[in-house]
């Protein structure tokens, strides 16, 4: 199924909850509303013509505009189908104040570690995650969420010297 066929199919079923992002990439990029996220994912795997049964990766992203306010978080899922050989990027906007999101470990088992990683590095909460635990950082890590923009909380964190700032 080509890119616009997928998009037509998705708009037909989840019209008001999704928002197609126009990019020049061959895969469809689309945002889905936070509340409908888990249900949408379930639909993606069950629908035989889409059959996105392979979660390539799930990651967080932190957007800060130059002035520092308007903080925005995204959870990005890259999906692929092993039956129809097409791919898709699904994104969910999360307001900065409550970063909770439903878990998809029920749908794709591999999301387990990805969600733990996003939880740890970005602070995006997955409340009903089967066994939330510290994954990559050490157990007594309380220096905030390292992957957020402008983070330099750890005492012996040596930022990259500005020599190469002006490197083109």
């Amino acid at each position: 199924m080509t890119k616009d066929e997928i998009e037509k199919q998705l708009v037909k079923d989840f019209g008001e909850h999704i928002e197609i992002q126009t990019t020049d990439q061959p895969e469809p990029f689309l945002y889905v509303a936070k509340e409908k996220y888990v249900e949408f994912c379930k639909y993606l795997t069950e629908n035989p013509s889409l059959a996105f049964d392979f979660l390539f990766q799930l990651g967080g992203a932190h957007f800060v505009d130059a002035s520092g306010q308007g903080e925005k978080f995204d959870v990005i899922l890259c999906l692929a189908s092993s039956k129809h050989k097409h791919e898709m990027v699904l994104k969910v906007k999360l307001p900065a104040e409550n970063l909770a999101l439903g878990t998809v470990t029920g749908i794709w088992r591999v999301a387990d570690f990805y969600e733990l990683e996003a939880m740890e590095l970005y602070g995006i909460k997955f409340p009903d995650h089967p066994h939330p635990r510290r994954l990559l950082l050490d157990d007594d890590w309380d220096y905030g969420y390292p992957m957020r923009k402008g983070w330099s909380g750890h005492p012996d964190f040596i930022p990259m010297p500005d020599k190469s700032e002006s490197a083109e």
């Binding site: 010297p161 020599k163 190469s164 002006s166 490197a167």
Partner: protein, 204 residues
């Protein structure tokens, strides 16, 4: 019946394993005895970073344009510019490479347009104290003194980016310890480019 067939195939494969290991028993070993016989480094081996200098005048080629410092992904190079009063030419007053941080990626060599910095095949710089691993200008120049280099044409991305560094014709070398390694030794230069004197130790 399956049991018997399986038994004989098992015995056959056990014997096959023995024969395979026996095949290598009489063969000459591929390993070389390191301290006595040194590996022949390739012409493009990326070992220690050195500063090249003009053989006649002994001055550094580097004119402190800071391009390598910018290109370095791990910021291992620190340079302090200075202007020579007489010849109005800029030169690096301080040129330090922290060998503990350097990841030998070769990006500085690519960024440099004045053939001032090059990664050579030398690798024997283990020292007990860490401070001596921050090479200053003189040490870099001294290591790089006998390193040969070709003057690179000005790099224009339009044309074939990096002119092919022609490898010298591989002349057979006295070292017969490495049967299959392609050995490149500069014909003219008795000391091979990597600066190690290749002591042909008694291998056997």
């Amino acid at each position: 019946m399956g049991m018997v067939k399986e038994f004989f195939s098992g015995v056959y494969n056990l014997a096959l394993g023995l024969v395979t290991t026996a095949k290598y028993l009489p063969k000459r070993a591929v390993t070389i005895q390191y301290p006595k016989v040194k590996m022949q480094m390739f012409e493009r081996s990326r070992g220690t970073v050195v500063l090249l200098s003009d053989p006649e005048t002994g001055e550094l080629n580097c004119n402190a344009c800071l391009l390598c410092q910018k290109a370095c992904p791990v910021a291992a190079i620190t340079i302090k510019q200075a202007k020579d009063a007489g010849t109005k030419k800029r030169y690096p007053e301080k040129f330090e490479i922290n060998m503990m941080i350097c990841c030998y990626c070769g990006l500085c060599e690519e960024a440099c347009n004045f053939n001032a910095i090059k990664l050579t095949g030398k690798y024997e710089f283990a020292t007990p104290d860490k401070d001596s691993l921050i090479f200053d200008k003189d040490k870099l120049q001294e290591i790089g003194r006998d390193v040969k280099y070709e003057a690179k044409k000005k790099r224009e991305p339009k044309k074939d980016a990096v002119p092919v560094k022609k490898a010298e014709p591989a002349s057979p070398t006295p070292v017969s310890a490495e049967p299959e390694k392609a050995v490149e030794v500069k014909a003219a230069d008795p000391v091979d480019n990597s600066g190690q004197i290749d002591i042909k130790g008694t291998n056997q």
